[in-house]
């Protein structure tokens, strides 16, 4: 592979140099009718290439895309995305056609006279107003969805979970019975209290610190994000969720998981993607890939940014309750440590 690659580079450079020295001997700087005819045709060839590539990617790369949203809030994201993508797709095909077809159709020649056409208020009105109307629709739906996702007031029965970022790992803290997270600040980091929870705060006592994220299906989760060092971003692509973790402040995001991890593994899209991945992994002799929800760091944060991941498991409510009850509270952990 590598030898081939170097040969390829070598040949490419060789051909370039040879071509350049040959071509520089041709005089000629201004396009004549022969050039116009040739490059008009190449414009059509290029258009064909562009269309082929666009269609190939749209059809055959579909399998690598993220599966349908695993959060209830994300459903509208998917719908809005589909509407937008269809729209821009159509415009893209249409505009590229015009650009390269006109290049071919009106390629210059001695016999052709250009049309003196400097202005048309009607046309300009049309293409100012049409995008404006379309945008009103997109912006309207988009803003409705944005408020829908970002509004975390009136979520009394939401489960509060803190996601905590540091170079280069993630931790989480569950709020316990009172569903209220105790105050946290880097000044309280000490020994086993690695998230800097203020144990004098009465809300802290029943908080539970974990290294794996369990979420119950069908319950709204109210995430609060903190970072102890640099900017990180908690990116949960399957849930259409992302929020930066900013040192010095608490950021928030919320969603309601729609499918358990097990259910998600049964999704046709996930199965199709997994088959593709496993074909590659088998050829390399790696372990097979099994779908899991992930939280990835998506804000450049240092050397190991590329490997800062956190597993998320979505389970049914009763399984979640069992798991949570097995986790020790911070009070218990700290007293044992002493």
């Amino acid at each position: 592979m590598l030898a081939l690659f170097y040969i390829f580079i070598g040949v490419a450079i060789g051909v370039s140099v040879w071509q350049i020295t040959r071509i520089m001997d041709f005089r000629g700087s201004i396009a004549n009718d022969k050039d116009n005819a040739a490059h008009g045709k190449y414009a059509i060839v290029f258009l064909a290439f562009l269309y082929a590539m666009m269609i190939y990617c749209l059809i055959f790369l579909n399998v690598i895309m993220l599966p349908e949203s695993a959060s209830i809030e994300g459903e509208h994201d998917d719908r809005l995305f589909n509407i937008t993508f269809w729209l821009i797709g159509v415009v893209q095909f249409f505009m590229q056609f015009l650009i390269f077809y006109f290049t071919f159709k009106y390629r210059g020649s001695k016999d052709r006279k250009a049309k003196f056409y400097a202005d048309s208020h009607k046309l300009e009105f049309i293409w100012t107003v049409t995008p404006a109307i379309v945008l009103v629709g997109l912006v309207g739906y988009g803003l409705w969805q944005w408020n829908n996702v970002m509004d975390l007031s009136n979520e009394d029965d939401a489960i509060a979970i803190e996601v905590y970022a540091q170079q280069f790992n993630w931790k989480a803290r569950y709020a316990g019975v009172d569903n209220t997270l105790g105050y946290g600040n880097v000044n309280f980091i000490k020994g086993i209290n690695t998230m800097g929870v203020d144990m004098r705060d009465k809300n802290s006592a029943d908080d539970k610190q974990v290294t794996e994220l369990y979420l119950p299906k069908g319950r709204k989760i109210h995430f609060k994000f903190r970072s102890q060092d640099v900017l990180h971003s908690a990116y949960m692509p399957h849930f259409r969720a992302q929020m930066n973790c900013v040192p010095g402040m608490v950021t928030e995001f919320g969603f309601t998981p729609k499918y358990t991890t097990e259910e998600m593994r049964e999704q046709p899209e996930v199965i199709a993607k997994s088959i593709g991945i496993n074909k590659i992994r088998r050829a390399r002799g790696d372990d097979p890939y099994i779908f899991n929800y992930l939280l990835l760091c998506n804000k450049i944060c240092g050397a190991s940014h590329y490997n800062m991941q956190f597993k998320i498991t979505v389970v049914e409510q009763d399984e979640y309750d069992t798991w949570l009850s097995e986790q020790p509270t911070l009070t218990e952990v700290i007293s044992k440590y002493k």
């Binding site: 290439f49 969720a241 402040m249 190991s304």
Partner: protein, 593 residues
Amino acid sequence: MSDHHHKETFVTKYIFSQDHKMISKQFLVTGMFMGIIAVLMSMLFRLQLAWPDTSFSVVEAFLGSHQTDGIMDPDIYLALVTIHGTIMVFFVLTAGLSGTFSNLLIPLQIGARDMASGFLNMVSYWLFFLSSIVMLISLFVEAGPAAAGWTVYPPLSALPQAIPGSGTGMTLWLVSMAIFIASSLIGALNYIVTVLNLRTKGMKMTRLPLTIWAFFVTAIIGVVSFPVLLSASLLLIFDRSFGTSFFLSDIFIAGEVLHYQGGSPVLFEHLFWFLGHPEVYIVLLPALGITSEIISTNSRKPIFGYRAMIGSILAIAFLSTIVWGHHMFVSGMNPFLGSVFTFTTLLIAIPSAVKAFNYVTTLWKGNLQLNPAMLFSIGLVSTFVTGGLTGLVLGDSALDINIHDTYFVVAHFHLVMGVSAIFGMYAGIYHWFPKMYGRMMNKTLGYWHFWITIVCAYGVFWPMHFIGLAGLPRRYYTNTNFPMFDDLADINIVITLFALVGGIAQIFFIANFFISMYRGEKATQNPWKSNTLEWTTPVEHVHGNWPGRLPEVHRWAYDYSKRVDPNDDDSDYLHGQDFVLQTTPLLELEEPS
């Protein structure tokens, strides 16, 4: 001024020149040099992305202590993408593009002897040169150059404990940028004053070629927004070196709590993007201006909707200063602000659409002279549309949540501002090379250069959208730690191959450029049969541009293929040829423009 000739020595003519034409060439060559470095960097990190576990002797040769057995270290990967972005955005597409063509064309196209201040113009170039040197020196710092991304968000960029590049490398980055901003501001002020005050007789603002409108408005955006980045850089220097807390708060790193209290990284993001977003248009507008001029000339048609084009340039410029928050939808700022920025951002689509439609209408029923410059301009329209459309996805805050900082963004901005702007720059070079060097560039090499470049540009950036939609974050040194991205490996290889071929194809351009400078065909005075004033100057440069009196302007720049009977496209040309110089007085039957 024209009759007052200075004695010119080698130094005053070629080095400390105050002549705008020479300064323009200095900007161009420096910008090209920086561009080559940035392209080579991109080829190195594309190798890493395609074959992360493979040892490359080029990596070993170039990266020295920052690699292990021919595989680059994660830190230097981040440094490479950081410096690639910085150089491309600022040194190539701001100074290299605007600096070259604003300097060359503003005096020539408005009918002025030189810039308002030749001295400041020279200072502007030499500050740019100095900042380039400082940036290049930062590449050789022991701990590596700045590596916090070209957006240099603190705290990462403020703390050497967080990443080694944030030590001396980052200091040099900030110093270089501060000098760069000074250069850019001096240049921009000069452009504005020159356009406002030194237009020749008859050159009303509404007769200016669209190139000048674009440069003029670009300069205004620069003057409005660059100082904000300067203050952000200064505050960051204070935080880094003098212990202030503008951007930092509550940090625990390397086992200790730092003293910083009360600052906010989000503040830096606001300040950065207050320049950062207008910067996109600082890069793009000159390219669009150049394209307007070249498409019109080579279509042998007036640019369609001249006033609408000026209107959209002004609208884009205004809107560009109130949309910066769309880079920060998930930064933790108030969601209400996100709503506002979504609204203003999508508004920009309207003037942009007007521009795209106007270009296409200009091509319609033209007599297209497909010179390399024209092809690059058409290519610009194509990539501008492709890249612009995906902006409708990213600008919508609800959709941005899930594709923010993925490769979808990388593909979007490379097409819409990277490839488009560089196409505009290439178009400008092919078109005005005869004005710069008195010789023509070879068209055959130009054609090779264009077709390979556009195929590779699409080959790189079209598939890249899809790996972004698969959820792949940008700035990952390798994706191998995530089995869910294993099926993207082949696409990454394809992208890298296109990138390598596209990069190597630039040899066609570089060779053409330097060989034509000495051996190219001698240029005639008006090779493209263009209307604008620069083609009324002699081929051999003279100080003061026009040997005699300054030309007088009687019409706009776009009287191509004007007919005796305006309603009959087959009637004779009004002035006997399909172009009418701006200096040609109006005939009695013509309507004044």
